[in-house]
């Protein structure tokens, strides 16, 4: 039902743009949250992300070109909550939780680009048995050794939304992220990461009423 509504809105936007050029409107729209699942890798080291992106705003943008053609975009904004994990042998495993803001621009052919800063909490687990040695030379094993860090990331990516043209409730995406962890040995730790993933769009999952604007240019 949701996707019918989506298509309908697209259609209405397209046709109304011709009749009500330059007029903006704001309406409330009930929209479901999406589920995000990805392979989250840094070079050759494996990892994963599970996330929820909850919509906060949507803009339907129609641009009139000089040629007389029209270009249509949908600009979405989401608040995301995520759990990530990656594993680098002999170095550490890292589990981190983030909240972020995602801006996504979807073209009428389904291709989208997105940008998302995120911030959160990271807990690392050292990549090997960790020992403590006291001043008498006694050796003991430290369980679950690792560190707590503040983590921030910024990323951008491209994807394809199958719901736009083919009415399938999912998207695929590829994204590059840069993570920073602080205070890492009194400095920062940076790590590039790439994601290859899937966004599933249930019809009704954690739905929110979001402001939906239409802009004609």
């Amino acid at each position: 039902m949701h996707f019918h509504k989506f298509s309908l809105i697209l259609l209405v936007t397209f046709y109304s743009a011709t009749g009500f050029c330059q007029e903006d409107s704001i309406v409330g729209e009930e929209r479901s949250s999406n589920l995000k699942l990805s392979y989250n890798s840094s070079l050759i080291y494996p990892g994963a992300r599970i996330g929820i992106e909850s919509p906060i705003a949507r803009t339907y943008l129609t641009k009139s070109l000089k040629s007389g053609d029209k270009k249509e975009y949908i600009k979405d904004q989401f608040i995301t909550t995520n759990i990530f994990w990656y594993h680098q042998p002999n170095f550490h495993d890292n589990i981190y939780f983030t909240v972020g803001w995602t801006a996504r621009k979807t073209r009428s052919n389904g291709v989208f680009t997105e940008f998302s800063p995120e911030i959160g909490y990271s807990r690392t687990f050292l990549g090997g048995t960790t020992y403590k040695v006291d001043n008498s030379g006694n050796v003991t094993i430290e369980k679950l050794a690792g560190y707590n860090y503040l983590i921030a990331s910024v990323g951008g990516g491209v994807g394809y939304d199958f719901s736009v043209v083919k009415s399938k409730p999912f998207s695929v995406f590829y994204k590059l992220n840069l993570l920073t962890m602080d205070p890492y040995n009194s400095t920062v730790y940076m790590r590039p990461a790439m994601e290859l993933g899937l966004i599933y769009k249930p019809k009704d999952f954690l739905s929110f009423k979001v402001k939906s604007r239409r802009i004609y240019k």
């Binding site: 080291y45 048995t129 020992y131 040695v133 400095t187």
Partner: protein
């Protein structure tokens, strides 16, 4: 309920990657960590642990990494006989921590080194033989270790490679070497613009060197050994390219730890640090390896160390094709001397 699942997964990950594994064999590779005063330092033991002989590498820097000391040749020619221990000092390489900058100082690192040895003996047996090898800044750190308390009783031998036990003397010797060889090279019409710059700097800065002057001498020293055709050049970028993926180097950790440590304030304290006056305490067999073209830690430091230590079991070897990285620039001689020294004293 879902939070309980997350915590459970986290615990499983933590436990599974930290399960104790002690491998005794002729070709092992075990990585573990030592947590000491706000730093968790990576230790990788490779090679022949069944020998119960451990060559502990103390890397340079501060802030470099023991990853840079792993070469196939050394693994095949020393690691086949003995175990090689790659220890990343605090705030270096794969070592991890949080706000621990205040703990980055020589006494703390000396304590770390002692605990690394105690840990090796705890893991592999109290009767294990440990040989200490300090390179460059590792020379200063091992000098600090060998002259503190009864530490030297923990090791069977001390190998000192292109190291420094006395930074003020180091500056004086580097300047003298740059000046004398620089003048010779100018007379020989070799690399005249570069040598003129170096000679001018040395003539303008004659004594009581500041930290900045000391750093500038070191920079010139790094460049100087590249001006000689007879010196086998050490290409660190080629090493990174060859080994980084193969051995799972945490590249950004290595980089940011290096940038932090090499610029940390304690370097200014090190600039005036010397152990020549207390080296008489050393009675442990000692091998000194220096590159003839090492301007960073000139062989005069080796002569000073030879004169200061009390042991009569000491030997100094000069490589005619090496600069500051003897183990890479003359690896055949390096492995031969190290093997012979360990063989004699294990």
């Amino acid at each position: 309920m879902k939070y309980q699942h997350i915590i459970l997964i986290a615990l499983l990950i933590g436990y599974s990657c930290q399960k104790e594994r002690i491998t005794i064999g002729t070709n092992v590779s075990d990585t573990f960590y030592l947590d000491n005063d706000n730093a968790s330092m990576r230790i990788t033991v490779e090679g022949n642990t069944s020998s119960q002989v451990f060559l502990l590498l103390v890397h340079g820097g501060p802030g470099e990494s023991s990853y840079f000391y792993k070469s196939d040749y050394i693994s095949q020619n020393i690691g086949n006989k003995y175990a090689i221990v790659y220890w990343d000092q605090r705030n270096a390489g794969a070592s991890q921590g949080d706000s621990n900058g205040n703990d980055l100082n020589l006494p703390q690192m000396t304590d770390d080194l002692k605990k690394v040895i105690q840990l090796l003996k705890g893991r592999y047996g109290e009767n294990s033989d440990v040989f200490l090898l300090g390179h460059s800044f590792g020379g200063l750190l091992t000098s600090s270790f060998m002259t503190a308390g009864n530490n030297q009783s923990l090791v069977k031998g001390w190998i000192f490679v292109d190291g420094s036990q006395n930074y003020p003397l180091n500056d004086t010797l580097t300047r003298q070497m740059l000046l004398s060889i620089g003048n010779q090279q100018v007379a020989l019409n070799k690399n005249i613009p570069q040598w003129n710059t170096i000679v001018s700097y040395c003539n303008a800065h004659t004594k009581n060197f500041t930290y900045d002057e000391s750093s500038q001498f070191e920079t010139y020293g790094v460049d100087a050994e590249t001006y000689f055709d007879g010196v086998k050049q050490f290409d660190i970028l080629a090493l990174i390219k060859e080994n980084a993926l193969k051995y799972d180097w945490p590249l950004t950790s290595i980089l940011f730890n290096y940038l932090y440590s090499s610029n940390a304030s304690f370097n200014k304290d090190l600039h005036l640090t010397e152990f020549s006056s207390v080296l008489y305490k050393v009675t442990t067999p000692t091998l000194l390896l220096f590159g003839q073209y090492d301007f960073i830690c000139p062989q005069g430091l080796g002569v000073d160390l030879m004169n200061c230590i009390s042991t009569t079991d000491k030997k100094m070897v000069i490589s005619p094709i090496s600069g500051h990285n003897f183990m890479y620039q003359d690896e055949v001689l390096f492995c031969r001397e190290v093997n012979e020294f360990i063989g004699l004293h294990k």
